[in-house]
Amino acid sequence: MKYVIAIIRPERLEEVKHELQKVEVNRLTVSSASGYGEQKGHLEVYRSLELEVNLLEKLRLDIAVNDDFLQPTIEAIKRGAKTNTGCIGDGKIFVLPLEDVIRIRTGETGSDAI
């Protein structure tokens, strides 16, 4: 089992969810985050004071998947998260090993519980 963490642009959430549903990944956890990365030069102006904003709003998705779902999940996220222009800031996917999962309601564990 794998624990996938994806950092995406907030405005791509709906697309990513849509793509994930297509590959039958229906469970995920979303949280908000701020990203610092390559993506710079986004300029904000507050009362004419120009600030180079490098702290950017991002969404973080956590998705636990069984091994055979890993590749489809990654592909789905890529399809959903990529902007037309493939810009810096489109995001990243991290794959971590996952040792166990427990569904609290039923007590099921392991890949059944995902």
Binding site: R47, S48, L51
Partner: protein
């Protein structure tokens, strides 16, 4: 002499409107600071309502409006001695007059707070406004409105000089003792909630009708005129600011529009009852543009007048005071009607006030800095004033 009930009603409701400007200001400023300093920033306005209100009735009113001399009022009304239920000022009860003027005394030092957010000690802030109100506000108020040497000379309908120039200049001056916020000029210092600032702008505009139109001290034609100019000048100023910003940066920001409105409100203040609505539009547009320039300049010069008290109140107040001398046509005549002398007097009033405010602020700041210190230490600044000065967090789960 009997009071006029209608004038009384008008001045009372105007006083209430001006009081509402304090929470308005608290929101206006509070929205622009970071989450960790919002309560601290709002408290600057609120505590002014506490301290200056009490100080005003104890001594401030007497110093500003007592008979006194050319420079300052006397002590005959300390603790409101000599004023009772039936005292009359003009056509209204003296109590109404004191309350109305008290609101002005309260808001003026609170305006300064925008420059010092995020790094001033709370107790030093309290000491500062307490002293400043006596040493700067009361005399200047006496000069212009209370029988001092500018009374009847300089035209200042609702406080361009008394309120905005004094506070704007002092805000700039006090920075000598405060320097910049840590992280100034990086994205970690962004307004934490612009909706608060917009709401504050709305409350300020609303309250400003009391401020300006109430300054007629009667529900008469002048009040209606001042109301009208206070309606259109900020509108024009907001548009001017927005237009320039749109042109220069490609985006018309909400914060910019709000700032423009404020600049227009400041600009029209000294002129409100002296100019026509069309002149008010010009004054507003001028104030919006010039304040925009001042704020840009600040960015270039790099001093950290955090919320642009000087850029808006100082520069806007000066602009308004001088343009009053240009456009005055009602109850006074300005340059355009051939009275160049008035512009000179306006200039004189502005210059004297600026020098006086700078000198006094330096002295007060110096004394406080040497005794209790003005600036908090770096660690406290990092953690934020809400936590370190007030032991609170504005937002919890």
């Amino acid at each position: 002499m009997a009071i006029e009930a209608a004038d009384t009603a008008w001045v009372l409701i105007s006083s209430a409107l001006v009081l509402l400007m304090l929470p308005g200001l608290a929101l206006f400023y509070g929205g622009m600071v970071r989450r960790k300093n919002v309560l601290s920033s709002m408290m600057h306005s609120f505590v002014a309502m506490g301290i200056i209100a009490v100080e005003w009735v104890i001594i401030g009113y007497s110093l500003a409006f007592g008979t006194g001399n050319w420079f300052i009022g006397g002590l005959e009304h300390v603790f409101l001695r000599g004023v009772d239920l039936y005292s009359v000022s003009g056509t209204i009860p003296t109590y109404a007059f004191i309350a109305f003027q008290g609101m002005f005394a309260v808001i003026t030092p609170a305006l300064i707070s925008g420059a010092v957010v995020g790094r001033i000690k709370f107790k030093s802030y309290i000491a500062f406004i307490t002293l400043w109100s006596l040493i700067v506000y009361a005399p200047v108020c006496h000069w212009v409105w209370g029988g001092g040497f500018l009374t009847g000379e300089a035209l200042d309908f609702a406080g361009g000089t008394v309120v905005h120039i004094t506070s704007g200049i002092s805000a700039l001056t006090i920075l000598i003792f405060l320097g910049r916020r840590k992280g100034y000029g990086t994205d970690s210092i962004r307004p934490h909630n612009i909706t608060l600032t917009l709401l504050g702008t709305g409350l300020l505009w609303f309250g400003w009708f009391g401020f300006n139109a109430g300054s007629a001290l009667a529900a008469d034609e002048i009040a209606a005129l001042a109301f009208m100019t206070t309606f259109v000048a900020p509108a024009a100023a907001g548009l001017a600011w927005m237009a320039i910003e749109w042109f220069r940066t490609g985006k018309p920001t909400a914060l910019g529009f709000a700032t423009g409105i404020l600049a227009g409100l400041v600009g029209i203040t000294p002129a409100a009852g002296f100019v026509t609505p069309m002149a008010a539009i010009i004054i507003g547009a001028a104030a919006g543009s010039i304040c925009y320039g001042a704020v840009v300049l600040k960015g270039k010069l790099g001093y950290d007048d955090s919320l642009d008290v000087f850029g808006v109140h100082g520069v806007g107040g000066i602009t308004g005071a001088l343009l009053t001398g240009v456009f005055a046509s009602v109850g006074g005549t300005g340059l355009l009607l051939g009275n160049s002398h008035q512009l000179l007097i306006q200039f004189e009033g502005v210059a004297i006030t600026i020098l006086y405010a700078i000198a006094c602020t330096i002295i007060i700041g110096f004394v406080i800095d040497k005794t209790m210190g003005v600036k908090i230490d770096e660690n406290a600044e990092n953690i934020g004033l809400d936590r370190t000065q007030h032991g609170e967090a504005a937002y919890n789960i």
